[in-house]
Amino acid sequence: MSFTESTETITGCNVRFMRGGKGAPLLFLHGSSGAARWAPFMEKLAESYEVIVPEHPGFGASDSPEWLDGMSDLAFFYLDVIDHLGLDKVNLVGGSIGGWLSAEIAIRNQTKLNSLTVVAPAGIRVKGLRKGDVFLWNAEETARNLFHDQTYAEQMLATPPSKEGLEVILKNRLTTAKLAWEPRFYNPDLHKWLHRISVPTLIVWGGDDKVVPAGYGPAWRDLIPDSRLEVIENCGHLPQVEKAERFVELVGGFIGEVTR
């Protein structure tokens, strides 16, 4: 695995980064379980891109800043991050609440973006289409509901976290609650402004997602003008983990297509 780790201070907040590969920049924004490890899909993406994976403020080894009260704070913070890193024509990819965050960034300022990929994003509400209650699930229910293929769940359950690992899990849950407890995993205003996203957008969903149901996919596609929806069958909430190869192929194909 070829990646480097660093900590950078941005707007007074220490942020842990993992980086690997060369090529056009790809900024991956993680979901509620954080990004402690360099995952196989990151390694695969790093064959073609400069992959940059920060841990959000309030997650993992990054600071929990006083100013972080909600998703809007995080979205503006990432505009600072993009400036700080001097990124241009960046391919922004985000999963779950990271997908929500990516869309919040794009509606604020998309001048530095080349493309946007959202993977099973939270962030909007379709009435009657209920998201899973991740705050009430225990460890076993969480593992089982995250994946379609239960061998992934069993792997996850077979290795209970260490004390330090548990601290990180709880820190991540706390920040997730700050961002998403109420209103539950959405911003009531976001759907009104998604039409402003003008960069090419790919929406990826697992057909068997029990956290944010795949029924949300068409709603996102309809709200973002230049967007395409790809549903991966027999896949849960984390296509980048459960169907890593297919995921990388979709993202790579899409970025290749839209890069002039």
Partner: protein, 386 residues
């Protein structure tokens, strides 16, 4: 020492086999388990018990707040306090709610408490809590802001009670152009006594013991060793602030059953206290401790402790830990006298009805306790004070 009769008003008619299908008596237990005909009977029976405590010479009665559960049927405790305000004459009425962070407008509590205080001519004790974790699931309120909302709501209520209105309140979660609560509190020198019930938290103790507040810290349902530890912590914090905490600043709330003999007490209480422990309190960790409810550090502790002894609580285990006092008048007197002299609490809140304990046993418990335990302890502790 002062004696209080505390009620939770459980749904005692709960079908106890509910847990074959449901993992908790809270949040998600369907309210179809509640039969309003039985509810009508229970509410009136429980109110009668609270009124009876006034006649039996208790110093106070306590109502409580919990939401969406079978454990306690007082989501809006002010309704009970209002009913009791007119039907009791001497007792203090402690409202142990209200769960301030759950509210979008905490001034409703300033108003409600002020009304009860006026009606009773100053018999109100004002409880302020964060609510237990399950409440944040039921009410949808973000637990990550629980602490800040509690502080801010408290400051707002205190301002409403102590500063002439109208005044302005500028907070993060709450903002008011006109804080001007009518009626003013009856106990206006400076405000009604404030009690802070807690399951045990050093942050809460630091805050309650501060010289600006000196609020009564009330330890709820915990082992004697835990109670002793937290009360010592309160005294130490007070000493650190340069003053000596009085007994009036320390209270303990626990279930108690007293009967003719130790054997009778244990036999009569067993099924009902075990229903309380195993059925009414039943709750998974994710419900009890949502993110932000306690610090990450104490949550890691709680989760590791849980892994250590995930054993079922029984009448024997809770008697052993001193979480439940049960026995003959002599046994109960002896234990309370010992604990009081060790720990030095000034308010003892006894839950004399718990779980499925029926009306006749509740009354018998209240009578024996008030006649054979309370007077003895009153003498002992006043002799000690003198």
């Amino acid at each position: 020492m002062k004696f209080y009769f505390m009620h939770l008003m459980p749904y005692a008619d709960l079908d106890l086999s509910y847990d074959e299908k449901h993992n908790s008596a809270w949040v998600t237990l369907p309210n179809t388990f509640f039969d309003p005909k039985k509810g009508h009977q229970l509410y009136n029976r429980y109110l009668d018990e609270l009124e009876y405590a006034d006649q039996l010479g208790f110093d106070g009665i306590c109502v409580n707040e919990h939401h969406s559960n079978a454990y306690g049927l007082m989501p809006i405790p002010g309704v009970m306090a209002g009913a009791l305000a007119r039907r009791t004459k001497n007792v203090k009425i402690a409202i142990l709610g209200r769960a301030l962070p759950l509210l979008n407008n905490p001034l409703t509590v300033a108003e409600e408490f002020a009304m009860v205080d006026n009606i009773t001519g100053g018999r109100l004790i004002a409880g302020m809590v964060r609510g237990i974790g399950a409440e944040y699931h039921s009410w949808g309120v973000n637990p990550a802001f629980s602490h800040e909302r509690f502080q801010e709501a408290h400051d707002l209520i205190l301002q409403a009670w102590t500063q002439p209105g109208p005044s302005v309140f500028e907070g993060k979660h709450y903002n008011f152009e006109y804080v001007n609560v009518w009626p003013r509190v009856y106990q206006d020198n400076p405000h009604p006594p404030i009690w802070i019930p807690s399951q045990g938290s050093s942050e809460t103790i630091e805050w309650a013991a501060h010289p600006d507040r000196k609020y009564t810290y009330l330890q709820t349902f915990a082992s004697v060793s835990t109670v002793a530890r937290y009360m010592k912590m309160y005294k130490d914090v007070a000493a650190g602030y340069g003053y000596e905490a009085t007994e009036d600043q320390l209270g303990w709330s626990l279930p108690l059953y007293v009967a003719e003999t130790d054997e009778i007490a244990r036999k009569e209480a067993k099924e009902h206290i075990e229903a309380f422990l195993q059925k009414f309190l039943r709750m998974p960790m994710e419900m009890l401790l949502p993110p932000g409810y306690t610090s990450v550090k104490s949550m890691v502790g709680a989760l590791s402790a849980k892994a250590g002894h995930a054993m079922k609580q029984t009448i024997d285990s809770v008697i052993e830990e001193g979480k439940f006092i049960c026995g003959s008048p002599a046994t109960v007197r002896e234990k309370l006298e010992e604990y009081q002299s060790q720990i030095g609490f000034g308010h003892l809140l006894t839950l004399l009805q718990f779980g499925t304990l029926p009306a006749e046993l509740t009354r018998k418990n209240m009578e024996i306790y008030s006649k054979e335990v309370m007077p003895y302890l009153r003498n002992v502790t006043s002799r000690k004070a003198a």
